[in-house]
């Protein structure tokens, strides 16, 4: 994997919201690479900046939010060694519109927002197909029906003419996925795609996403706060806290050999990590700071058991390599062997 070039490279991206009360630094220097055919998971607690990161990639950050710094590089379909910088595009322009849906498609966090209630799901999917493929309406309808079929919808010829509100939660989620893959994207961003649905339906949708990913060799950027879902879905995991990446690495290293104090504490605090039940769960002291009052230095320092006074509360740690493809932002690893080398 190391010699392979990334499909998408997010580099030191910063997204700030200037509000009357102050500036919310929602995403404050996030970097990661997504490779072809991989499921990359982004995990973190509510408000840590997962959705805003995703929106900055697609250039759909709503005002007053603004990308302050950083690059989002997407490899070209025909020349994988060449990259487009999505941050330099006009967010309403033709170029980025071709990327959205055609190269990178989105399954949004709010399932009801994906479809308009006044048009049939078929017409909306057909419109999306015609935007990205050079086909006429009749051909687009055919692709749409195929697409509905490939997401496991029974009677696609009939369902194509239904409205989103006529579908159950599980079927609606399938229709959203059908719309997302209809333009044959290389990267699918799924923002909490199963948070609003039941566990047995969630299992079906997760399986569907995995199957589609394998069949199409597509990459998936999978966003969730659920550690169980991430363990089962992702090959590579990015752990975020207060707008920054704390740790990233292969899924097995993150769950079995986490290095960052936040990742370690987070994993210890889930009930399924305990051998005995009914015992007190290890907790992370304090609470997530308000976005206007982000701590100086390492964002985790007020809650960190290892914080080094005069250092962690003053300076921002950079990323240190601690294992194969595993990186942490923590001063504890500043002097680890691999980094001195």
């Amino acid at each position: 994997m190391t010699d392979q070039k990334p499909l998408l490279s997010v580099r030191d991206i910063k997204v700030y919201f200037n509000l009357d009360e102050g500036t919310v630094k929602s995403v404050d220097g996030v970097s990661f690479d997504a490779y072809e055919g991989q499921v990359l998971g982004i995990v973190g607690e509510s408000g840590c900046g997962k959705s805003v990161t995703m929106k900055s990639i697609l250039r759909i950050v709503e005002p007053p939010g603004k990308i302050m710094e950083g690059q989002v590089l997407l490899s070209k379909r025909d020349h994988p060694d060449e990259y487009l910088d999505l941050t330099s595009m006009n967010e309403k322009g033709k170029e980025i519109r071709a990327v959205r849906g055609g190269e990178i498609a989105l399954i949004p966090q709010e399932p009801m927002a994906a479809f308009s209630p006044v048009h049939t799901i078929g017409n909306q999917i057909i419109e999306a197909i015609m935007l990205h493929c050079d086909v006429n309406k009749k051909e687009a309808r055919e692709i749409c029906i195929q697409s509905l079929k490939s997401v496991g919808m029974s009677m696609p010829e009939k369902r194509v003419d239904s409205y989103s509100w006529q579908l159950s939660g599980g079927l609606r989620q399938r229709a959203i996925i059908a719309m997302a893959i209809a333009g044959n994207p290389r990267l699918l961003i799924a923002d909490e795609p199963t948070t609003a649905i039941d566990v047995t339906t969630q299992a079906q949708i997760l399986k569907l996403l995995k199957d589609l990913q394998r069949e199409r060799g597509m990459s998936i950027l999978f966003i969730t706060h659920d550690l169980g879902v991430i363990a089962q879905m992702a090959q590579y995991v990015v752990v975020m806290y207060l707008g920054r990446v704390m740790e990233k690495g292969p899924v097995d290293s993150i769950f079995h050999d986490p290095k960052h104090p936040y990742t370690q504490a987070l994993l210890r605090s889930i009930p399924s990590a305990q051998k005995t039940t009914k015992i007190k769960l290890p907790t992370i002291s304090g609470s997530i700071p308000h976005p206007f009052n982000k701590p100086k230095g390492c964002p985790f320092h007020p809650r960190c058991a290892y914080a080094i006074k005069g250092k962690c509360n003053v300076n921002l740690p950079s990323e240190y390599i601690v294992g194969d493809q595993q990186y942490v932002s923590c001063f504890r690893y500043e002097k680890s062997e691999v980094n001195i080398r």
């Binding site: 047995t200 706060h225 399924s272």
Partner: protein, 347 residues
């Protein structure tokens, strides 16, 4: 032994609550004359019991009737049918299901609810003192000094600083708001606490703090919990016994470890297989259940689970299976429980 129905005479002494054949139907009406055209069978023949000092977990997918059942038990709803026997302070069993509001009044202090949504459940215009002390005022504790002392005590118990009394809900985080909700529920020293998804809306790191608090309070105050949740790992951690609901009915009840590792109902088996485990080395093979949860307005015939059950036989399509005790303390509502060998949680 095969029916869970009891009368006040043969109730085992340790029971605090004993619910049998509880039903709650919401009528579906149509037209300007509000003609009754059907029912949403939100709770449809529910049977469960809770012993004093224990925590019973109630699990199931959204819409299966957990909240409706909880609200019936606390008599926030009037049940359509059934019996809710509760042992009051005088150690007598009373049937809450058919009691008048007046008779319920003194009992209300003994049963309290903790809600799922820490944001919506607190009045934003009341400060913390008013929120926590309101139940005391309603129940006739007029002396402000006494109320203040008790609020200070309660806030300390739930891990909040007493100085916070004068603040309003908006200045607290989700976890802190949930603590305020817990303090309010405990204001009148209840014996039964119904917690409806108390940690579902909280982040992982905050969830652990609130779970610890609930476990501590149970020890300190000798509480009995009905713990409603859909997160099976949370339920496993704090519950003594667990009961599983599907489309308004209980399908299985057993001691926690027994239910998780030796399920005797196909739906429980499917639920265990569907829950994503936070360990990538335990890759789950997802055969998965086909279809979706049916609507309680139009439940299937026979066993409500039959259209999705891979063990379904002809009789399942017509005969409703009764909840029966298949081994001591293990109840299941499946015709084929004896002959099936089901898989539990993987370790």
């Amino acid at each position: 032994m095969s029916d869970i129905t009891l009368n006040p005479k043969n109730i085992p002494a340790e029971r605090l609550l004993h619910v049998s054949h509880l039903k709650k139907y919401f009528p579906i009406t149509s037209g300007i004359f509000k003609k009754h055209v059907g029912d949403i069978k939100a709770v449809d023949d529910l049977n469960l019991y809770i012993n004093e000092g224990e925590t019973l977990g109630l699990v199931g997918e959204s819409g299966c009737g957990k909240t409706t059942a909880a609200r019936c038990i606390l008599r926030a709803y009037e049940p359509t049918e059934g019996e809710i026997l509760f042992r009051n302070k005088k150690q007598e069993y009373v049937d809450l299901a058919h009691m008048s509001d007046k008779d319920l009044r003194p009992l209300r202090t003994e049963m309290q609810m903790i809600f799922q949504d820490p944001f919506g459940s607190l009045n934003p215009r009341m400060n913390i003192f008013d929120i926590v002390s309101e139940p005391m005022l309603v129940n006739g504790i007029r002396n402000r000094k006494e109320r203040e002392e008790r609020v200070v005590d309660l806030l300390k118990k739930v891990g909040l600083r007493p100085e916070y009394m004068v603040r309003y809900p908006h200045s607290f985080s989700g976890g802190q708001r949930q603590r305020i909700g817990i303090a309010r529920a405990l204001a009148l020293q209840p014996r039964l606490v119904v917690a409806d998804e108390p940690v579902s809306a909280l982040d992982v790191s905050v969830q652990a703090q609130v779970l610890n608090l609930l476990m501590e309070l149970m020890e300190d105050m000798g509480l009995t919990y009905l713990f409603v949740a859909h997160d099976l790992s949370v339920v496993r951690h704090i519950c003594d016994r667990v009961t599983v609901m599907y489309v308004g009915k209980i399908v299985e009840t057993a001691p926690t470890e027994e239910l998780y590792y030796n399920p005797r109902h196909p739906y429980t088996e499917a639920l265990m297989a569907a829950v994503p485990i936070a360990d990538p080395r335990l890759q789950q093979d997802r055969k998965g259940l086909p279809g979706e949860v049916p609507s309680p307005a139009k439940p299937p015939s026979g066993c409500y689970f039959h259209p999705r059950c891979s063990y379904c036989e002809d009789r399942c399509k017509t005969e409703v299976p009764e909840l029966r005790e298949i081994s001591p303390n293990h109840w299941t509502a499946c015709h084929r429980a004896e002959v099936l060998s089901l898989e539990g949680l993987k370790t």
